[in-house]
Amino acid sequence: MKHASNAILAAVLGTAAIARAQPAPGDRPKPDGASGDPRGGPAPGPQSPYGPDPGQPGQPAQPGQPAQPGQPIQPGQPVQVVQQPDGSVELTPAPPPAPRPPRVHKMRFPEVLNTPTGWLLPAGVLYSRDRIDTGGGVSSDNRVGLGDVAEFGVSTTDQVRERQTDSTKERAEVLQPYVTASFRLGVDENRLFKGQPGVTLGFRKSFEREHLGSRTRIAELTLVASKHLGPDVAIHLGGSVWDASLQENADAAMPPDPITLHGQGFARQLRAFGGFEARPLPRSEILVDLSWAPEFCYGCASAAGGPSGAMGAIRLRPELAWGVRYQVASFMHIESGVRVPDIGNANLLDAQIFGQITFTSFALSDAVETLK
């Protein structure tokens, strides 16, 4: 009986000692170091010059490689169910997921300065550009990249102009805010084959704008290709089909039929545009582009009347712009430069100095990537 009591006492004390040595529930176990230091890592074993043997039983599986049966399952470790030949199932540790390589945020701007590029915003990327210029123009452009193949945007533009007469003495005024919505789709550069330029097909359409009793609208269909010539130089070439409508005295009981650009022939709708980018410094780019913008002349239509009189009511004016894009931070760019709204007449007087700030955010894109 005394021997039995001793054995019971020894068992109780031993069990208590073992229980005391266990970590508290909920605490993650910490591996002891080689010298018993609890802060240290596991004791270094003999290292093979060819690296650890992934098939050695009892050794944790390497990231991305299947675990071996019989490996111990660590608390919190994901497991996988293995069907045995005899019908039983066995839980084995699942291979730890391979670490994701860090995402590289490759930004391609959807515009040079005024013209669209053949590049699209990456999927889930939010883009916002706000601009002011010395002509009193204020514009904002907000877009989101859709699946690396499209983008959607809403913007206000200050490029649309109006004038009352065709007089050269009269200065065309900015018609703003002019709200437009845009949708572009395309294929990234080198996606289909090596050397393929980035190509986008875009459509931009304005909401109806009423000013001084006249209703106007614009729409633009663009096809543009962009190609890098080396790592720091790129060119953009494209064509656009414009349309616009002008309805004067829109509030009258019997308003006249609207004058449209497509009613003046296809040749007056079609325009070519282009741009150039060069990066002489790591954070700075030189940008040049040639674009087109509609100009409405109210007095021109009513003076002549009829289809021939409509010819001067809606015109497309060439704009030349150049400037610099400077990357202030990974999410912010500052652009500044010069825009000449009517370069066709060499009208230097209307040249504008502009400044714009562009924000890009990959937060949504990263969040979507994490969900994958």
Partner: protein, 246 residues
């Protein structure tokens, strides 16, 4: 003739300084110097008539400069046989260019555009001035030379003038015995906005000195004379330039 050739050879043989200077104008004529990356510049000026000038600029990575200013260099009049009024105009400028020796031996080059965005004087109706210029600058050590072409367009009331080309020139002398001082001279053009007959371009000659009082600031004292003004019409002005580097 031999002395002129000797001086010219000495000037050409002089070694330029390592970095470009930073002043964006001599007195009125623009230079091809661009401020270094991350720098911001400011200038405050006043002349003996109390007309003020304020310039503020910011560098875009050393590649370009955006400048906003308010000055009264442009004169306007409704009856130009009488007094011409200095017009306080708000103007913005954008300058882009290449530094000196970007290609071996190349002078600094800048393409600049300056446009009016505001007029603060009701003396004449709707004054506007825009100019675009190309200017080259070369630092030869003792002397700095500036030369360029300016295309100026202006409008006032219902009168508009097409862009007209005019030469720009400037020179800065840095006597070696006075390392902080320099003598300045320039030729520039500004429009005179005649509300009755339209804009007319007038030359402006300036001569002065600049003293580099601090590493971040300099003081200028100058006299400027305009075409059409007699000697008594010349203005004496003082300016303070400052630069903040990142």
């Amino acid at each position: 003739m031999r002395a002129v050739l000797t001086v010219a050879a000495a000037v050409l043989a002089a070694r330029p300084v390592a970095a470009d200077p930073t002043e964006s104008r001599v007195l009125t004529a623009p230079t091809a110097w661009l401020p270094p990356s991350g720098a911001a510049t400011a200038t405050l000026g006043i002349d003996h008539r109390g007309d003020t000038a304020v310039f503020a600029g910011a560098s875009l990575d050393g590649l370009a400069e955006l400048e906003i200013d308010e000055d009264s260099d442009v004169r306007g009049c409704t009856d130009c046989a009488m007094q011409r009024t200095p017009l306080r105009l708000g103007r913005a400028g954008f300058r882009i260019g290449a530094h000196q020796d970007w290609l071996h031996g190349m002078p600094a080059l800048v393409l600049g555009v300056r446009a009016t965005f505001a007029a603060y004087e009701p003396a004449v109706d709707a004054p506007r001035v825009t100019d675009a210029y190309v200017v080259a600058s070369r630092d030869l050590g003792v002397v700095r030379l500036h030369a360029g072409v300016d295309a100026l367009a202006a409008s006032v009331a219902d009168h508009r003038s097409a862009a007209a080309l005019r030469p720009l020139a400037g020179v800065e002398l840095h006597p070696p015995m006075y390392p902080r001082s320099s003598l300045l001279g320039d030729l520039a053009w500004e429009p005179e906005l005649d509300a009755v007959h339209g804009p007319v371009l007038r030359w402006m000659l300036g001569i002065g000195v600049r003293y580099q009082a601090f590493s971040w600031g300099s003081v200028e004292l100058a006299v400027r004379a305009r075409q059409g003004d007699d000697l008594g019409g010349a203005t004496v002005m003082a300016r303070f330039n400052a630069i903040a580097r990142r």
